[in-house]
């Protein structure tokens, strides 16, 4: 028994071995990886060599001051639950991170990034604490409103608790938004106007003396809302902000010192020897360039520098700065989350890191246009009416041009390189980030080809995730016409829809950013093109009105209104609703509800449809008796996952397959005592989903496959309305020894190639699982073995060879996007999370491509040699025959 089991494993590993692997010299040949640190939260320039940053992604990293490259990077726990709350850079880097009561205090070596020490503690109180780190003491402060604050101090290196938790009576703490820590002081204002009081107390002294000063006496009385804000990297400095004008206070044991400068609340201090410099950005500069003002704190000398920094997103704040003499280096963060290092007094930008790319929310691959030359050859065939002479002239002309291009050795085009290659492997990847910037990435190198910042917009929040739907309205195939892509977003303030149409190849906006006068509920790309090969975009507003953009697509929609259907799934209302457009007239489009599906108390957690461009090559599955089981390939099938709390089974996961046209529930299943994370992959006639089995405490993958039966009811066309009988489902479940963060099936041009499922694991690997391993065997499999049949093993192996990113871990993966190349065997993959990783996968190996070590020269030489040899021997033979005849 054990022997057979082992044999099966060996067999499996053998199968894996023949399907993938990468040679050492192929590293970086088909793939690239861009490393990011995330949205910078804290940053300190620790010496003239590096800047230490802590980010929203719970990452601590060191960037080189010279070129901005990552010197080291440590990815900490899941950022959804844990955040870095304190970064202190001294001889070593100290961080406090965590959340929900569990806190980790860590010390890092600032030059290598290795962990020096670590300790953690747990607090019953889940409230977010305040932290002060001074003189080797870590102070943990929990304020209790209206009563007292609890102070616990620890030795930062080993976590020894010096004495017990102290309680200071602070009845003046009424609102946490009015309280801050500044250096070693805990400080509050009593009211948000000039009549209030400023309280502060030293957290490290044992005296616990509370100082009180009326705000009037500090900054004078004037009407306006007053806020307090601590100074980034400041000592015991504090801003009192009134009407966007900040005054700097230095808190001292006796009385606070008020500096007489009007500042912005985003000013930072930099130490220049024993002098302290204040730096701030000036927003309203006459030119559009960034201007930085420096103020010497003691003497009050002001300098204004104009920077050579052009970023339409604008600078959000100065994170950190360091000065040496007159030269300063300023680390700034922009509104698009990119970070830059600026130099004073020159005003140069040393480097910029596009950290926005660590928060990708939407990805789409776009085909590149033909090169100008290829396009001209294509145009030869455009004029159908051309007579023989003009066609001949065109041919000669384009051939001469081709020859000239070959002779001159260049493409003679402005966008060199951004043209379609033979195998369609070169694409442009359009990426939308959470900060509202769109990037065009070259798929060959990962270089940024273009970028565009959209002000005042944000993505939609769908099931707790940001989402920006991208629609390909026209591909680059129709050469003189530009490719067009539409992105839908919403206005940050009003929540109304924003439609941005652009050329994905150049990034140029087509028309203006269209601000729609309503909220967008859902949108769909029409399947039909108009006479300019443009696909219309159908948008449903919040009051269920239907609009079509551009308006030229309206006649097309009306023509095909009977075949276009629409559905919405409400995550709050928990109702699925189907619509048709049959009742539309030329005046108004009308979406008529046709079916509803009430999910009851269950929470909607995922809806998945098959990729619209997917093609299914094989229409059935061959059984052992050589009969065919036809697949139930329904392009309108929606896969829906819901999770419901249950008093007995804790949580119940339900999976539904619903026909989106008729609302017919084709298949449903329920799993008891399971939980999140749930991922769905829906492709061809099957569905794979992963869930956490709370009963056995493991991740499981379940698969469903739908078959029509041994005959096809209609072999030429598929209609959801023609239901003769329900499809036969086959199911199977597997234990998966990993935690999936994202799952997706590969996609190829014609669907001939096998399907693999790409699974991004929490360990940082992205692994490929062949569909053949997951295929439900059902009664057909067990009865009689098919050829190439893989026996069922409950626990799926994750062989190291199946990891497509070999040893390059990708932390915090948020999603995977695939696109077919024009080569049938190849599928392009972009994995996005904290990093971006791009590669190609070939699920059935490169069956349509010669190997790269194929010896063209040898073959050619052998062939030519043989031909030459055969001619020589022929001649020799004829000579010999002649000689013989003369004898």
């Amino acid at each position: 028994m054990i022997a057979t089991k082992n044999f099966k494993y060996i067999f499996l590993i053998y199968l894996f071995n023949i399907s993938y692997c990468l040679y050492e010299d192929q590293i970086g040949k088909f793939d690239w990886k861009l490393n990011y640190v995330g949205n910078v939260k804290f940053g300190t320039i620790d010496s003239t060599k590096r800047v230490i940053v802590a980010t929203e992604e719970n990452v601590i990293a060191s960037l080189s001051l010279k070129n901005g490259q990552i010197l080291w990077r440590q990815v900490l726990e899941n950022p959804a639950l844990n955040q870095i709350e304190l970064l202190h850079v001294d001889k070593e880097v100290i961080t406090v991170s965590g959340g929900k009561g569990t806190w980790y205090v860590r010390g890092w070596d600032s030059s290598s990034g290795s962990l020096l020490w670590e300790w953690s503690f747990y607090m019953e109180n889940k409230q977010r604490p305040y932290w002060i780190l001074s003189k080797g003491q870590l102070v943990h402060i929990i304020p209790v409103l209206g009563s007292h604050i609890e102070i616990t101090s620890y030795d930062v290196h080993n976590g020894r608790n010096n004495g017990k938790t102290m309680k200071i009576s602070t009845p003046w703490v009424t609102d946490l938004s009015k309280c801050q820590t500044a250096g070693v002081y805990w400080t509050c204002i009593s009211t948000n106007d000039s009549s209030g009081q400023l309280f502060y107390t030293d957290m490290l002294s044992s005296a616990n003396q509370v100082r009180t000063f009326p705000i009037q006496s500090l900054i004078g009385s004037a009407p306006g809302h007053i806020e307090i804000k601590p100074l980034e990297s400041g000592d015991s400095n504090l801003f009192l902000i009134r009407n966007n004008v900040a005054r700097l206070l230095k808190l001292q044991p006796e009385a606070p010192h008020v500096y007489p400068y009007s500042l912005s609340d985003k000013a930072v201090t930099a130490f220049n020897g024993d002098q302290t410099l204040l730096l701030q950005t000036i927003q309203n500069s006459p030119t559009n360039k960034l201007t930085i003002q420096t103020i010497e704190l003691q003497e009050g000398t002001e300098n204004v520098f104009e920077m050579d920094y052009t970023n339409e997103a604008g600078v959000a704040n100065i994170v950190s700065a360091v000065c040496k003499g007159t030269a300063c280096r300023i680390f700034v963060k922009s509104n698009d989350n990119s970070v830059s290092l600026l130099q004073l007094p020159g005003g140069k930008v040393s480097w910029t890191r596009e950290e926005g790319l660590s928060q990708v929310v939407a990805v789409e691959f776009f085909e590149l246009p033909l090169s100008e030359l290829d396009a001209s050859i294509e145009h030869e065939f455009d004029s159908i009416s051309g007579d023989i002479f003009s066609t001949f002239y065109n041919r000669i002309f384009s051939q001469i041009r081709q020859l000239l291009v070959v002779l001159s050795g260049q493409q003679g085009d402005s966008n060199i390189g951004m043209v379609r290659d033979e195998f369609g492997l070169h694409k442009i990847i359009v990426v939308v980030t959470a900060s509202g910037r769109l990037y065009g990435l070259d798929s060959m190198s990962g270089n940024i080809v273009w970028s565009q910042y959209l002000k005042g917009v944000e993505g939609f929040s769908v099931l707790g995730k940001l989402s920006v739907p991208l629609f390909v309205q026209r591909s680059a195939r129709y050469s003189p016409l530009m490719a067009q892509c539409a992105a839908l977003m919403k206005d940050k303030i009003t929540g109304h829809g924003v439609m941005y149409t652009f050329d994905p190849i150049t990034g140029q906006s087509i028309g203006n950013i269209e601000r729609l006068p309503y909220q967008i509920e859902q949108a769909m790309l029409l399947p039909y093109e108009d006479d300019k090969h443009m696909k219309g975009l159908l948008i449903m507003s919040d009051n269920y009105e239907v609009m079509v953009y551009p308006s030229s697509a309206k006649p097309v929609l009306l023509k095909h209104a009977s075949s276009i259907f629409f559905y919405t799934a409400g995550s709050k209302s928990k109702i699925l609703q189907g619509y048709n457009l049959v009742h539309s007239t030329t005046d108004s489009l009308k979406a008529t509800p046709t079916w509803t599906l009430n999910l009851g108390p269950a929470d909607l957690i995922a809806v998945n449809v098959r990729p619209s461009s997917e093609r299914v090559h094989s229409q059935g599955r061959v059984l052992a008796d050589r009969s065919v089981l036809y697949k139930y390939v329904n392009p309108n099938l929606l896969a829906i996952a819901t999770l419901m709390d249950d008093p007995i089974h804790k949580q119940v996961l339900s999976i539904y397959l619903v026909d989106g046209v008729t609302g017919l529930v084709v298949y449903s299943a329920a799993h008891k005592r399971v939980g999140k994370p749930v991922h769905l992959v829906h492709s061809e006639n099957w569905l794979v989903y992963s869930y956490y089995n709370a009963r056995f405490r493991r991740m499981e993958l379940a698969t469903v496959e739908l078959y029509e039966g041994p005959t096809q009811s209609n072999s030429t066309s598929f209609s959801s309305h023609a239901v003769s009988q329900l499809p036969h489902p086959q199911t199977q479940a597997y234990i998966f020894p990993g935690t999936p963060l994202a799952m997706l099936a590969t996609l190829t041009e014609r669907g001939i190639t096998n399907k693999h499922i790409l699974i991004a694991l929490s360990s940082g690997a992205v692994t490929e699982v062949p569909w053949a391993f997951l295929e439900p065997r059902g009664p057909h499999g067990t009865m009689n073995m098919e050829e190439g049949y893989i026996p069922y093993i409950p626990e799926l192996p994750i062989p190291a060879e199946a990891t497509i990113n070999y040893n390059q871990s990708i932390p915090q993966v948020r999603g995977i996007q695939v696109a077919p190349a024009r080569l049938e065997s190849t599928c392009l993959v972009l994995v996005y999370g904290l990093d971006l990783f791009y590669t190609r996968v070939t699920p059935s190996k490169t069956f349509d491509l010669l190997k790269e070590d194929f010896d063209h020269w040898l073959i050619a030489i052998v062939l030519i040699g043989l031909i030459v040899a055969s001619y020589i021997t022929k001649r020799l033979a004829s000579r010999k025959a002649l000689k013989l005849a003369w004898k």
Partner: protein, 176 residues
């Protein structure tokens, strides 16, 4: 001179008994016939016998030719049995031979029966064709048992076109 020489050269090896009357008279009158030599009647009857024997031989020969394919059947059956049903190079070559030989034979039908021309061999031809067809049938049977004949629906699966969809669907989870 030259012609004379040529004639004498020819005469050197030819003996014309009709020209030399003297010799013939001597032959007939004086010398007895050699033993087992008969001058009367034998020639005609012998000629007739020779003629019937040849046609009989041709018939026999033609039937042999006609029956050859049928005689091959047991041998083919044995080869088929020995080749087995696995698909590999040798059984495939054997199946190829099983097919090729009768088909070639059918194409060369008239050539085969040319040696026995000018007599009617329709019966033999029919038998010959029948024998070859039996052999082709055997080859087909072999293909069938090897699973090489596209008789199952799965063999035509690759030619089944994807079905054209009648409806299109779009939408998703509501944005607000």
């Amino acid at each position: 001179m030259a012609t004379n020489k040529l004639q004498s050269k020819r005469f050197k090896w030819s003996l014309d008994s009709s020209k030399c009357s003297k010799l013939s008279s001597i032959n007939e009158s004086a010398l007895p016939a050699p033993p087992a030599y008969s001058t009367s009647g034998v020639l005609s009857s012998g000629e007739v016998a020779k003629k019937t024997d040849a046609s009989h031989l041709i018939m026999k020969k033609s039937w042999e030719v006609a029956l050859a394919p049928i005689k091959q059947v047991p041998m083919n059956l044995f080869i088929m049995y020995m080749a087995g049903n696995s698909i590999s190079i040798f059984p495939i070559m054997m199946v190829g031979m099983l097919f090729m030989r009768p088909i070639q034979a059918l194409f060369q039908l008239n050539g085969t029966f040319k040696t026995v021309e000018n007599s009617s061999v329709i019966g033999q031809k029919i038998v010959y064709i029948f024998g070859n067809l039996v052999n082709i049938g055997l080859a087909l049977y072999k293909c069938q048992s090897m699973g090489l004949l596209p008789t199952h629906s799965s063999d035509w699966l690759a030619f089944v076109e994807p079905r054209v969809r009648q409806e299109y669907i779009g939408g998703g989870i509501m944005f607000s």
